[in-house]
């Protein structure tokens, strides 16, 4: 390839593993990325449109399938929005149960991310190790809700399943297990010189840029923006729990806004979630778990509502917004979802600028996009086809090179 010549490479939308389809186009000069852009819409299923044809209780199950990973956050946000519109007061116990479910989901999602990040760097053994310990939280989720992925526990005005006293020891066992695993994870991810060299100062997002692009969630927090919906606009039981937004300086005393910082933030949030669950179990109040157990009656009540509702929820990837309008009818008048990845997607453009081609996969993965990406890259001006594998290979090769260099240093 002529080094000084710029060419554009479009990556996507099919990826062999993980994530959803997205198309990213990068303009490269030699190995350097000069500019980047992306296009979405491969997974557009018209969920909001379909929602307007169903009644609120049916929509819960549709909202669950917006995203298979955040399938507590979406129905939770939807339920809170309906409750706001209809002035429904959720029983206290249900609020705590919701918090527990939401935090379990955060643990599983963050572990998933850490595994994917390791895979993108070429450490497949770490991917397997992390996904192995991730099974523990899925087991507990299955034990509490009856299913591993789509849980269907939320209902307008509460939750559908209670956590009994008999079930608490299993949760406690999980907490103990993860406390141990957490230390090992820190050791693997934070002390390893190769991972550090591979992710430090890569894909930097400055605080100004993060604010300007309205980044949310761990992506924003890793750049030093102290925002967290659980802290700023508490919902469920978070107001009682004193949640604080986590930035990487807690651990290292500095914020660089790079990929490494994003890994740190997610690791720390796993620990935070464990603590929150522990607190919730301890303070779990007694009482009912549903505002209105007879669903037929709930539907009739909802039919009389003429109001709008909005809900903000901190999904694992950041702030999630559901807005809806009800107008004296069985179905909704309007429903709008703003998912966190939608806000975060724009940050990959400044992150990718001036990075190496070999760093593209880890940078894109570092915002934990809820979108699948790159499988085949097409060299636009030569019409040759490079498999995305090759880019992934580049990424892995770079890791190996760094490893070798490290070994040589050790000898000297």
């Amino acid at each position: 390839m002529n080094k000084s010549k710029k060419c554009s490479i479009s990556i996507g939308p099919i990826h062999p593993a993980l994530k959803e389809p997205i198309q990213i186009e990068v303009l490269v000069e030699g190995e350097r990325v000069k500019d980047a852009s992306f296009s979405l819409g491969h997974v557009h299923r018209g969920i909001e449109w379909m929602g307007l044809r169903r009644n609120p209780i049916q929509i819960i199950y549709l909202a669950e399938r917006v995203c298979g990973i955040c399938n507590i956050s979406h129905p939770l946000a939807f339920c809170i929005a309906v409750e706001n519109a209809a002035n429904i007061r959720v029983p206290e116990r249900a609020e705590y149960l919701r918090t527990i479910y939401a935090e379990l989901e955060r643990i599983h999602s963050h572990l998933l991310f850490l595994g994917v990040a390791a895979h993108e760097l070429g450490f497949d053994s770490i991917l397997h190790y992390i996904w192995l310990i991730r099974e523990k939280v899925l087991d507990v989720i299955e034990y509490l809700t009856g299913n591993r992925i789509t849980k269907a526990v939320l209902m307008i005005g509460g939750v559908r399943r209670d956590i009994s006293k008999k079930q608490i020891p299993k949760i406690k066992e999980m907490l103990a297990y993860y406390k141990k695993a957490y230390e090992k994870l820190c050791e693997i991810l934070l002390d390893d010189p190769t991972i550090k060299l591979r992710t430090r100062d890569i894909g930097v997002l400055s605080k100004e840029e993060a604010l300007k692009l309205c980044a949310v969630g761990p992506t924003a927090r890793a750049s030093g923006v102290k925002k967290d919906t659980r802290q700023d606009f508490p919902y469920a039981a978070y107001a009682d729990l004193d949640v604080e937004a986590i930035t990487p300086d807690v651990l290292l005393g500095e914020i660089r806004g790079d990929v490494f910082d994003r890994i740190i933030v997610r690791l720390l949030e796993i620990k935070q979630s464990l603590e929150l669950i522990e607190k919730c179990i301890k303070e779990l109040p007694e009482g009912p778990t549903l505002y209105e157990p007879v669903l037929q009656k709930l539907l009739v009540d909802l039919k009389k509502v003429d109001n709008e509702g909005i809900a903000l929820v901190e999904a694992p990837r950041g702030e999630l917004i559901h807005y809806l309008r009800m107008q004296n009818s069985e179905t909704l008048f309007a429903w709008k979802i703003r998912a966190p990845t939608y806000a975060n997607m724009h940050t990959i453009v400044p992150m990718l600028k001036d990075s190496e081609l070999a760093d593209v996969p880890i940078i894109v993965a570092s915002i934990d996009p809820c979108l699948s990406c790159a499988n085949r890259a097409v060299l636009a001006d030569k019409e040759a086809i490079i498999a995305q594998e090759k880019i992934h290979e580049l990424c892995v090769k770079k890791t190996l090179k760094i490893k070798e260099r490290l070994k040589r240093w050790e000898h000297v």
Partner: protein
């Protein structure tokens, strides 16, 4: 079917045609140590040209239809298509959407359906075992010129 019957490994290409990710993470879970489909030689590959099995999830959105067909056509014969999840098999919760071209069997021929929303990893492995059986059958037929 004993273990000695496993003569060849299945190489799998996974394509997401607009799924909610639920099935996709269960596929990865099926490959990682708890369920460990790799012990049967099942391996995810990065290109359809290397694959024996096409693992499809999602209800096929308009943008993904062409890509699905292209991936299918790039696969060498004999090939097997396994659909994972309800929404790929029938449309599932998304059945009435305006942006769907699916379900998948409307676009490419499907051999095996794994129902569930999402199916458990065990079910996905079961689907792959069925794919293997069918593929072996196809190979035998070809050898005997049937």
């Amino acid at each position: 079917m004993g273990l000695d019957a496993l003569k060849r490994s299945l190489w799998v290409f996974h394509i997401n045609t607009g799924s909610c990710n639920g099935c996709d993470i269960e596929i990865i879970a099926a490959l990682t140590p708890r369920y460990d489909a790799e012990r049967f030689g099942v391996k995810l590959v990065g290109s359809p040209r290397h694959a024996d099995v096409l693992l499809v999830t999602g209800p096929v959105t308009r943008k993904m239809k062409e890509r699905l067909i292209r991936a299918y056509e790039q696969m060498p014969e004999p090939k097997i298509v396994v659909v994972v999840g309800n929404c790929g098999s029938t449309g599932g919760v998304f059945y009435e959407s305006y942006n769907l071209e699916g379900p998948i069997d409307k676009i490419i021929p499907v051999d095996i359906y794994v129902p569930g929303c999402p199916p458990r990893p065990e079910a996905i492995i079961h689907g792959l075992a069925k794919a293997w059986e069918k593929l072996e059958g196809m190979k035998k037929c070809k050898q005997q010129n049937l």
